[in-house]
């Protein structure tokens, strides 16, 4: 049985934030769940996926976030409690259905999880998705801790049903990826089917209907505002003339800071857990008794601006500050020391930062950035494209996935990365606006997510570039989730239909389609040269399973290679492909037999054929 299905009520279980949210949804009786995976939300989806195989919960990995939210909108309007999960930038993709779904509303609870990533641990931006609550007119809830994440998920379903609107549950990486002990409560069995009652004047958003729906939305927002003021998700702790208003994980930092600075008798904290609409009267009342108010929030000054506006309405003139050059930044994530220091400065109390050990005797070391794995097929494809295009003036738009890392030297393949699917569409633009040969890279999952529309555009508008689809048969970067091209039978998951990328591409009328097996180096280079010479849109599909995933499925038996005495130390292996299995010892190249999977790409490029399979002892 899945550990999150435990019926041991009142038992404490160590859970990751994402597991706590999944358990909260299970306790709330979620019957339907959709997602497109994205860090830091991925483990939440994975847990619900696993749970769906043991219960009546319906779960799907949708093609992209827009599709996920549209599928979810239907379920939630058929009376089924539904959860839709994505990372923060995923909500940009789903923004179209989001804003109009707020007009339509829901008949059963719909919780939309948006996992923000301040500091960009694995994202292309650090946008603050609380603004989506404002933009769409939807309630936003924000937990401060792992334990609260579970309770708030349950509360979000109830709030959604009380208002008849979707609710945004906004987390940050620090909540998703922290662990703590969480107390189990009773599970509500999932009900994955309901009924849709046609009511065109509520569901068909032609202008005449939407004008009425907008009125309804504003009414709901007013109700939400009253609920926010009455909600115990917004609460005050402590007392004193100094005020702190905070949300999310910042609340925990503020709490520790008040204690560390000995300000328990002087500071009161207003924790905002229901942050859109903000609790107007609670805030006006809170600031009335304060000499000064510090707003502690990661990201944008979302609460700060609201608090200042409420103060103006209430004719309060006390100093209210949060984001400033000498206070909190809009950049990155907060930490306990930073909050402590800024609180001390703002409230004018002494503060000595913790002394750290002297590290002067340790040498400077290079950073260890993420890297393509040993035996990664992307490395081989990048190398081959580079060789095939060496006489050309090439530029390479790339996309979101493991292969983004190909931009690092020595491969250096990746000149422009914008967002999911943009490799293909930006290739259209670069090939028209410059005279360079454009070679774009996209992974299989990203191609399904939003690369197809770009390719349709390219064929229709008769653009001139080469698209390389790096098909490793899985959504690898986020932890090996399925995508529409994946053979699910191979993972013992029946009931799916895999879509052939090759057939799809050919059906669009692409002028030149080539399939390569990237571990066959010479053959692949020749095929790529031909595709690059084609005038018009050419597509290369590079097929080789993700080595990590194949190892996990036991489809790949690693067969390590070794550098023999024939090596004359040209180092093409290290300088041109830089697989992490290589290391230097006493000036000679070696291969780490524990990590080498035996792709044999280095063996094929070695000028002396010095790299050979390791003979078993």
């Amino acid at each position: 049985m899945h550990k999150l299905l435990s019926e041991k009520i009142n038992e404490d279980l160590l859970m990751l934030g994402n597991e706590a949210i999944a358990r909260g949804a299970v306790e709330a009786g979620v019957g339907f769940a959709t997602t497109y995976p994205g860090t830091p939300s991925s483990e939440l989806s994975l847990n619900l996926f696993q749970i769906s195989r043991e219960t009546d919960l319906y779960f799907e990995y949708s093609t992209n976030e827009k599709v996920a939210l549209e599928v979810a909108a239907a379920a939630a309007n058929s009376g089924v409690r539904t959860m839709c999960m994505m990372k923060h930038v995923g909500l940009n993709v789903a923004a179209d259905p989001l804003v109009t779904l707020a007009y339509i509303g829901v008949t059963a609870g719909l919780v939309i999880l948006t996992a923000d990533d301040p500091a960009m641990f694995s994202s292309q931006n650090e946008q603050d998705n609380r603004y989506y609550g404002k933009l769409a007119g939807l309630p936003v809830l924000e937990p401060s801790s792992v334990e609260e994440a579970k309770e708030m998920t349950r509360a979000a379903f109830e709030l959604s049903e009380a208002l008849g609107e979707p609710v945004l549950l906004r987390t940050t990486t620090r909540i998703n990826h922290s662990s703590a002990f969480v107390t189990l409560k009773e599970i509500t069995p999932p009900v994955p089917k309901g009924n849709f009652v046609p009511a065109p004047m509520s569901y068909v958003t032609v202008p005449a209907v939407s004008r009425k729906l907008h009125v309804k939305l504003l009414d709901n927002l007013a109700k939400a505002s009253a609920l926010s003021d009455a909600s115990d998700l917004n609460f005050i702790t402590g007392q004193g003339p100094l005020g702190v208003i905070c949300n999310g994980v910042s609340y925990l930092y503020a709490k520790d800071a008040v204690k560390d600075l000995g300000l328990e008798e002087q500071v009161k904290i207003l924790r905002i857990g229901f942050s859109n609409p903000m609790p107007e009267w609670m805030i006006k009342d809170f600031i009335k008794g304060c000499k000064k108010v510090l707003v502690v929030e990661e990201g944008e000054p979302f609460m700060e601006e609201a608090v200042k506006a409420f103060a103006q309405e209430a004719c309060e003139t006390l100093p209210i500050q949060g984001k400033a050059d000498d206070l909190f930044s809009r950049l990155s994530e907060f930490d306990p020391a930073m909050v402590r220091e800024n609180m001390a400065r703002f409230f004018d109390v002494p503060y000595t930062p913790a002394a750290s050990v002297n590290t002067a005797d340790l040498p400077e070391i290079p950073q260890r950035p993420p890297n393509l794995c040993s035996g990664c097929s992307h490395r081989a494809t990048f190398y081959e494209v580079k060789k095939a295009a060496k006489a050309m003036d090439v530029m390479c738009p790339s996309d979101i996935g493991c292969y983004t890392l190909g931009f690092l030297p020595p491969l250096s393949m990746g000149d422009f990365v914008l967002c999911m699917g943009a490799s293909v569409s930006s290739a259209c633009g670069f090939s028209r606006a410059t005279d360079k040969k454009v070679v774009a890279f996209i992974g299989d999952s990203t191609f399904f997510h939003s690369g197809i529309t770009g390719l349709v555009n390219a064929v229709f508008n008769n653009h001139n570039f080469t698209l390389v689809i790096l098909d490793n048969g899985i959504t690898a970067m986020t932890g090996h989730q399925p995508n529409p091209g994946v053979d699910m039978d191979q993972m013992n998951l029946p009931g799916y239909n895999a879509i052939s990328i090759e057939k799809l591409v050919r059906s669009l009328g692409v002028g030149h389609v080539t399939l390569i097996k990237p571990f066959k180096v010479k053959k692949s280079i020749a095929a790529i040269e031909e595709a690059l010479a084609f005038k018009g849109v050419s597509v290369i599909i590079s097929q080789e399973p993700c080595a990590l995933h194949a190892k996990g499925l036991k489809l790949l038996k690693p067969r390590a290679f070794t550098v023999t005495d024939k090596c004359l130390d040209h180092r093409d292996c290290i300088n041109e492909i830089a697989c992490p299995s290589f290391y230097l010892d006493k000036g000679r190249v070696h291969i780490d037999a524990d990590t080498c999977v035996g792709c044999a790409v280095c063996a094929q490029i070695c000028p002396e054929n010095a790299i050979m399979p390791l003979k078993k002892k």
């Binding site: 404490d12 160590l14 990751l16 860090t39 830091p40 991925s42 483990e43 641990f121 694995s122 801790s145 792992v146 620090r174 990826h177 922290s178 662990s179 703590a180 002990f181 994980v249 925990l252 930092y253 709490k255 520790d256 930490d335 306990p336 020391a337 930062p353 913790a354 002394a355 750290s356 050990v357 590290t359 005797d361 340790l362 040498p363 400077e364 070391i365 950073q367 260890r368 950035p369 993420p370 890297n371 393509l372 794995c373 493991c402 890392l405 970067m477 986020t478 932890g479 992490p580 524990d594």
Partner: protein, 175 residues
């Protein structure tokens, strides 16, 4: 007893696995535990770091100058993460050589070699955890062994024996 522990390594070494073992062992003794971890891109060979706070803390992150113990699964990470230690803190480092000037803070354990000699390359993290348990008092060797037994229930016996052996060897090397 309030204790802050940072565990540092690279993707694939099992940083999160031993973080979970330590957290559960401390929790079983009735301590309040918070952890914070790196996921995602780090899996691809990047640096992985986890923070474990045991005791009376509200917030999950550990800041420089505050850690009581630093467990370093990859020796070069010591330079990157040693500033987490407080002036009395100790580092247990997977390395062949001792760090002369840091001898008072850095205790070395050649876990890579121990794991290689015993043909147990996947257990470097457990040798290191064993060594760390000889330094910290947050929980005992016994407490962690109980968690390993729970965790490996139903798995092949050899896996459990290997894991417990690694933990013992690491511990005995330091104690």
């Amino acid at each position: 007893m309030n204790q802050q522990i940072v565990i540092s390594g690279v993707g694939g070494q099992g940083v999160l696995f031993i973080t979970g073992l330590l957290a559960k062992a401390c929790m079983a003794k009735g301590s309040h535990v918070l952890t914070s971890e790196t996921h995602g891109m780090a899996q691809r060979g990047g640096t992985v770091i986890s923070h474990l706070k045991i005791g009376d803390y509200a917030s999950p992150l550990i800041r420089p100058g505050n850690a009581d113990l630093l467990i370093v699964l990859k020796s070069e990470n010591l330079a990157q993460h040693r500033d987490f230690l407080n002036p009395r803190g100790k580092a247990v480092v997977n390395a062949q050589t001792t760090f002369e000037k840091s001898a008072s803070t850095a205790i070395t354990l050649d876990a890579d070699k121990m794991a290689e000699d015993e043909n147990n390359p996947g257990s470097v993290n457990l040798y290191m955890l064993g060594g760390a348990l000889a330094v910290t008092q947050v929980c005992s060797l016994y407490d962690v062994k109980e968690q390993i037994k729970n965790r490996l229930q139903g798995k092949p016996e050899a896996l459990l024996t290997g894991a417990l052996n690694a933990l013992d060897k690491g511990y005995n090397q330091i104690i």
